[in-house]
């Protein structure tokens, strides 16, 4: 009863627009005070221990690397390479844009950063090629969802921390599902393009141009190789890979005289600011999850759900619905830290592999970036191009459908998430 009451307080605070970490904090304190299951003195320590994790340091660093790529002009090279590779297709520049998002996703851990970076570079040209602006925004927003789906990814680092799974393992498992989402975006764009006749590329493929673009992009392409190669081969931990990539990108930028020392404070500031928003949520949410576990809430939730006699397939569908809906109304970080511990026991109950569960959960939450009312990528694109959010959201519908289908496939076919781990 008291638990329900504190949860009610939490939701009420949330609805009137109290910052999320404060809602969770007050809800947890209310719960602890009302039930007395854990001493309140725990609060002070938990706010320290919760974020005392080496893996978390990678979060700002993977954003920093992305930022350096943009400022040093390396991101343009990546896009040039994507265009030389795919420009000859009928939907050439659209495909290149989505692929550019995917390449950038191998560097940046954040999809809002991905959307902003690629959107800024490609938007004018997409419109020139014949795509209407709202649709072009939707395309970039959808492609940029891979920012957190293709490793490195902030979302996988956070869920790894919450459920106690190594982020390097998750990065390894997430690569193929992330690429499938990317391909789904490319294919959707090709189909929409054919149906509506936006772009008809006339450039042919030229081997010489391709090598020139590859040569131009060699430094830019070295960064994802360092990050993913370093993590997958076990040479670096994700955090070290992030620091090295950021360092190398900075060095390249400085050698090419694109970045000066005077740019450093502003550049570091952008990614440092993300910490102030994300870390308090994680710290407080872990305390919240701890309180829920002691009160046996996740276990009771599992019993309640299974009491309807539903089977594995229905449960996966149910989780999909919960994740899509909460992804629509809330940002990813709070979703991961609150829903992770709640849905995880349910997944275990029906025999889902922990890694498979993580990949399924993050992929499905990824949809939330391009669904209104709270779709971060939509906001970023709207802010960047001064296009109304509702117009972009309407154009994003085909991409949402494609991504739901991929999420379903990932949910029902564990092998997609697990075969790279040899399980």
């Amino acid at each position: 009863m008291t638990v329900a009451f504190s949860l009610l307080v939490l939701v009420a605070l949330l609805v009137v627009g109290v910052p999320f970490w404060v809602c969770l904090g007050l809800g947890t304190v209310a719960m602890l005070a009302a039930t007395g299951v854990l001493p309140l003195t725990l609060v002070g320590e938990a706010l320290f221990e919760g974020i005392d994790s080496f893996a978390l340091i990678a979060i700002p660093l993977f954003i920093l690397t992305g930022d350096v790529m943009v400022r040093s002009g390396l991101a343009y090279r990546l896009l040039g390479f994507a265009e030389a590779s795919f420009g000859w297709l009928r939907s050439g520049f659209g495909t290149s844009t989505a692929m550019g998002c995917g390449l950038f996703a191998c560097i940046s851990g954040s999809d809002a950063a991905d959307a902003a970076a690629i959107g800024r570079i490609t938007m004018d040209k997409l419109v020139d090629k014949g795509y209407p602006k709202p649709y072009a925004c939707a395309l970039v927003a959808a492609g940029a969802c891979t920012g957190i789906l293709i490793p490195p990814s902030i979302a996988y680092i956070i869920i790894g921390l919450v459920l106690g799974i190594s982020s390097a393992t998750l990065f390894q498992a997430a690569f193929v599902p992330g690429v499938i989402i990317l391909l789904a975006v490319v294919v959707t764009n090709a189909i929409v393009n054919r149906a509506r006749g936006y772009e008809r590329s006339t450039t042919g493929f030229s081997g010489r141009d391709w090598f020139a673009a590859l040569n131009g992009a060699k430094w830019a392409l070295a960064i994802p190789v360092i990050i993913l190669g370093g993590i997958y081969s076990g040479v670096f931990t994700p955090t070290e890979a992030a620091a090295v990539a950021a360092g190398v990108a900075l060095l390249i930028g400085m050698l090419q005289r694109r970045i000066r020392l005077a740019d450093f404070p502003a550049m570091l500031g952008t990614s440092a600011r993300v910490c102030g928003v994300v870390l308090p949520i994680i710290a407080v949410a872990l305390l919240f999850a701890q309180a829920l576990t002691v009160l046996d809430v996740p276990q009771r939730f599992v019993e309640w759900v299974t009491s309807f006699g539903v089977e594995r397939n229905e449960i996966i569908l149910l989780m999909l619905v919960i994740l899509v809906v909460s992804g629509m109304v809330m940002e990813t970080t709070p979703n991961i830290v609150v829903l992770g511990p709640l849905l995880y026991p349910l997944a275990q109950k029906v025999g889902m592999d922990p890694i498979h569960f993580c990949v399924f959960m993050i992929t499905t939450l990824g949809l939330g970036f391009i669904t209104p009312p709270f779709g971060l990528n939509l906001f970023v694109m709207a802010g960047l191009t001064r296009t109304p959010i509702t117009a972009i959201a309407r154009q994003a519908v085909p991409f949402v459908v494609a991504m739901v289908i991929v999420s379903l496939v990932i949910g029902f076919v564990p092998a997609i998430s697990l075969f790279t781990l040899g399980r």
Partner: protein
């Protein structure tokens, strides 16, 4: 004196965050270089990087209060007319203040315990209170920044101005 205070008001968290962040990056990088070039790794690097990062997080929380960057559910904001936004922000700030005071109280309690009974970090063998202090320091700053924000919002409400909307995270 006044100028010093104004400079602190404008930049205190930003500078401290920059120091912590740079330290964090530097320590990790030198550790990697050391491991590859000198084939030798230290134990202190990971620990100090982690602690600098915790400072970064809680200082950042205060900074985000100032910039109004904390994530909130904005359905009610979209539904209500602009002149009421100030009241919503004020209520959010009041709640932030309540939580910050609770957290400040209990984190100070932890520090007291550490100072009284000792308790050192595993590697550096320094009293952990120095690092745990990140939490009360951060929350003390959150209290200050929240009070400042309340003052600003009340002034805006009285003058009939639109409430400060805050800075978006990625929109430049």
């Amino acid at each position: 004196m006044r100028r010093v205070l104004a400079a602190l008001d404008a930049n205190a968290e930003r500078y401290l965050m920059l120091v912590c962040y740079t330290f964090c990056c530097f320590v990790i990088l030198q550790e990697v270089v050391r491991r590859f070039v000198f084939n030798y790794s230290s134990a202190w690097a990971e620990e100090t990087a982690r602690y600098a990062f915790i400072y970064l997080g809680w200082l950042g929380a205060a900074y985000a209060v100032r910039e109004r960057a904390h994530i909130r559910f904005d359905i009610l904001f979209n539904a209500l007319p602009k002149r009421l936004h100030g009241w919503l922000y004020l209520f959010g700030e009041a709640m932030t203040l309540v939580f910050a005071c609770i957290a400040l109280y209990y984190s100070m309690h932890t520090i007291q315990q550490l100072l009284q009974f000792g308790g050192t970090t595993p590697v550096l063998r320094v009293n952990k209170a120095w690092f745990e202090a990140a939490v009360p320091l951060g929350f003390a700053l959150v209290v200050v920044r929240t009070l400042q924000a309340m003052r600003r919002d009340i002034a805006d409400l009285r003058a009939g101005r639109e409430a400060y909307g805050g800075k978006a995270l990625f929109d430049e």
